[in-house]
């Protein structure tokens, strides 16, 4: 199956997430992989989808403010001097 804008969009919207997380039935997986083997735009798209995942992982670790735990504790302590 060659590149077809509408068909490829549908594959990406409906099946790519299942393909990537491994939940796609084997028969559908084989069909999708057969398509990928003939459709460079979809392959490039798949690679960029994975690159997005890698880029998002770079957002971690987020720097936590110093002494946050102490600030939280003091905040609660001021408002609830002693738990009854």
């Amino acid at each position: 199956m060659k590149h077809d804008e509408m068909n490829c969009k549908r594959l990406i919207l409906e099946y790519l997430a299942d393909y990537e997380d491994g939940s796609m039935p084997e028969i559908d997986r084989r069909e999708l992989e057969a398509h990928l083997s003939h459709c460079p735009p979809c392959v490039t798209f798949l690679h960029s989808y994975r690159a997005t995942g890698r880029t998002l992982k770079m957002l971690k670790p987020r720097e936590v403010p110093k002494n946050l735990a102490e600030a939280v504790w003091n905040f609660v302590r001021e408002r609830c001097p002693k738990k009854s």
């Binding site: 990406i12 979809c42 490039t44 957002l59 946050l68």
Partner: protein, 212 residues
Amino acid sequence: MAEDPNASDLELVRRIKRGDDQAFREMVERYNARIYSLSYGVLRNREDAEESTQDAFLTLYRKIDTFDESKKFFSWFYRVALNAAYSRARRRRPAAATVALDDFAPRLSDRRLGTSPEYLAWVDGTEDEVIARDLADRAEEFIDELPPPYRDAIWMVDVEEMKPSDVAEILEISMPALKSRLHRARLHVRQRLAEIASAPREPQAGQQRVAP
């Protein structure tokens, strides 16, 4: 054998319910960074995220008696923290303009994308550290463009790397619904990243932002 985190949480919860403040301090130590990061995902502002984290722990302290011990503690507490962050977001800023759902649709035939060396380096993961970091910073902006249900899903799963089943539980949605939100959110961020990854960069990469 690894300790069951929920069992360990429950032990602390029971001690806090009995008025053991040391147990509360241990809970703060255990969760403050994660709650801060979750809050930041909603609020995108360090000061707001810090204050929201404090609000979440205050609610935890005051309302812990209402926690049903047959449930997972962290799901309940993350829900508490999300509600604190949503409440603060409503008070602090008007709802931001978000992208339309149609914008999530993949644009395969966009010939401006997909051929530049910069784009190919991004796709292959061969871009240098500074450029990769710059793209990651921009990704945060693009996540912020999403409607909140999509934004929270992608933040928790792809940035915080939380288990999807846990996120579905916290957001009180089904796994298929979570997967759908995640996929559409990723498609949007991918499209936006592809646009800037395709733009030619100036020689001293990392010192400048690529014009949209």
